[in-house]
Symmetry: C2
Subunit: 465 residues, 2 copies
Amino acid sequence: MVQITTLPRNETGIETAIGILRQAFGDRLQTGASIREQHGHTTTWIDNQPPDAVVFPHSTQEVSEIVKVCAAHKVPVIGFGTGTSLEGHVNAPVGGICVDFSRMDRILAVHADDLDCVVQPGVTREQLNTHLRDQGLFFPIDPGANASLGGMASTRASGTNAVRYGTMKDNVIALEAVMPDGEIIRTAQRAKKTSAGYDLTRLLVGAEGTLGLITEITLRLHGIPEAMSAARCSFSTVDAACRAVMATIQYGVPVARIELLDKVAVRAVNAYSRLDLPETPLLLLEFHGSEAGVAEQAETFGAIAEDTGGMGFEWTSSAEERNRLWKARHDFYWAALQMRPGATGFATDVCVPISRLAECVNAATARAEELGLLAPLVGHVGDGNFHISPIVDKSDPEEVARTEDFVAWLAELAISMDGTCTGEHGIGQGKRAYLEKELGPATRYMRAIKAALDPDNIMNPGKIL
Amino acid sequence: MVQITTLPRNETGIETAIGILRQAFGDRLQTGASIREQHGHTTTWIDNQPPDAVVFPHSTQEVSEIVKVCAAHKVPVIGFGTGTSLEGHVNAPVGGICVDFSRMDRILAVHADDLDCVVQPGVTREQLNTHLRDQGLFFPIDPGANASLGGMASTRASGTNAVRYGTMKDNVIALEAVMPDGEIIRTAQRAKKTSAGYDLTRLLVGAEGTLGLITEITLRLHGIPEAMSAARCSFSTVDAACRAVMATIQYGVPVARIELLDKVAVRAVNAYSRLDLPETPLLLLEFHGSEAGVAEQAETFGAIAEDTGGMGFEWTSSAEERNRLWKARHDFYWAALQMRPGATGFATDVCVPISRLAECVNAATARAEELGLLAPLVGHVGDGNFHISPIVDKSDPEEVARTEDFVAWLAELAISMDGTCTGEHGIGQGKRAYLEKELGPATRYMRAIKAALDPDNIMNPGKIL
């Protein structure tokens, strides 16, 4: 069995590499403490492990030079987009060089006739969608944060509308990448489909920078729908809400978003946004299509909701009314933090077959209550993916311990239900303990691939495996 | 650079392995000449290279035993589904053991609530859809032949409705596979999405049995649409037809199938099926959705067709009328062969960005005419994928040579247009010459992965790399 041994910290190598790179990059290489800390993990309470230097390349060629220097001196290379990942992906546990892609932020081409575009990894999804709007096109994947597209590809991100548009794996056509030896490859041409050889595109999507650095991304685009409608409906139980979700999907309603808030989450937004929603499970939906299509979809859902015990069903196709209906979801993040000022949210990310969703959600909320954790829940329930987020006082070690127990218990519960410990956040550092439990012997072959492509384990060491 | 060296034929190893397997499998191991030839390549004029023995396992455990014996004696292992592949995937260029999955043909589970099912690799797509019909579900991927699902996964197959439902890569949730050392793995759990580690599912889909043998497949299912409509429209030029295709897709019409027949193909079906279609490029479409939805989609296409110079637009949502409109497509295969009785069709499979499709189709048909080849063309044009199939007299070496020149020229033309030499058939033996031209340095890393997982190159040697 191939072992991925995390290098001990390689002082001399790191020093030498920094020296060489400083020559080449001048003040585009930074070693100040604050900038290094900004490039370590900052979004959860996983410890910040800053890199030794941060370099800001302008081109694929420069990324290749950086990787060649690091390969020659066996120095870790960690890619960095916007730093919004949630599992410690950008940490440098044994130091090394952080490659910050913020200056590789050009949209290189938009092929409207082919519904695709080619972007550098530092382009953010909002930047891309702003650029595309005039052409009536959009890129659908929406993880919430204004993440970089390189980072989204590297973590196989998805979000609220994956139920309709899929995840990054479904929306990346081709990649340019710098491999661990510094070589530049293209994983595919621009054709919409191909059967030409191994799917290196899908191998690099979700590899979290451990097999190479993504330097260019060809993305599928979609036409901005002619019309959108939104709907909202409360349910007395999670089971009833989940029955409505299953029926909607089985009925073939091409719902664009279908989000669940549990009663704790609804209580939070009622308080924060001065809403008066019934404090029971809430479903929020969005439909994309023609004027007639979105009306039909909303009404079909309305009928399903009625059959499954929905209460206070409302729908609209007017823009500001849509925002009113969805306010609970838009304000959720801030509302959750306001439940307990000064406390920290702890993200979880399990995903299970939809038939097990109600059972998993109920067990999770009951367990959190048992443990005395304040833990609002929001879910991309069309995919069976939800986030229950204990809001925790970091200064209370006993509460932190209870939270850690809860997070571990939930990951194992999802795995026991034929689900995954991570639907969209990735393994990073935070979920490494569960990958083996989830996939067992398959992880041996992941290690073999890692060892074959990156024998010195310089690409984002200490992540995934 | 890692070299994938095809083993010289390993006589002793093969003899020993057959001896051991005969003990274990009795008359489920066959060595008769005719059965061996049936398990070599039979669907095009690539030479038939039969295996030394064909074994019929009943279980994953038995497949694992077979692979362990072959690994111990460095003997090639070639998976076999229904033998409908078109690029010599099932040939045994240096002999070895063919693993015929026809007795692993059980549908293990249908999870209607989750819209997925678990099948053995020998299940064919028609068998699965017959089984699913009563539950209102279907599996959409339709490569034409009644292929096995294991084979379809291994070649990353797609077909006429990939434009709506994607390819095998988009419809496989998880795989069980026997790896080159005989170990059994699961690549993922049954959750609809995951970010847990490297995407071994997508690595094995399209690997053509060169990295392992697929022994179980978890597939995404879809609800049978409430309604279907079909449409037909002729165009004076390929350019006009392609403009209609692009506009339809850009407009966001969720077309389920959109097929092009060129004038040669239309002439063939007019003769064979006694139709009187104008002998100009023809588009055939199918729409899936609600009654109102499919009517709206067909009418939207009708308006687009009118704007782009379409002639004789017809649409219907009645079942037998749909068959009448689509008869030209359903009869195409036999009609093409009838153009020249006794001759053989030669499949091509290029796929280009849709914006280059008209240019590529026009160049291909013009070149075929120049070369005096009778070559009807049919295309899954919503994806930019088409098949122009010279109907050739195999007994005429000069005509065969012209055909081979044409096929090589077409693959390189598609690659020069940012397209691929194979949209859905795979590389196998027939397209190996083009993979390097298409993906260059990326093939080095494919070789590194192959060498890491299958160091003795026993899994389907002589394919892809």
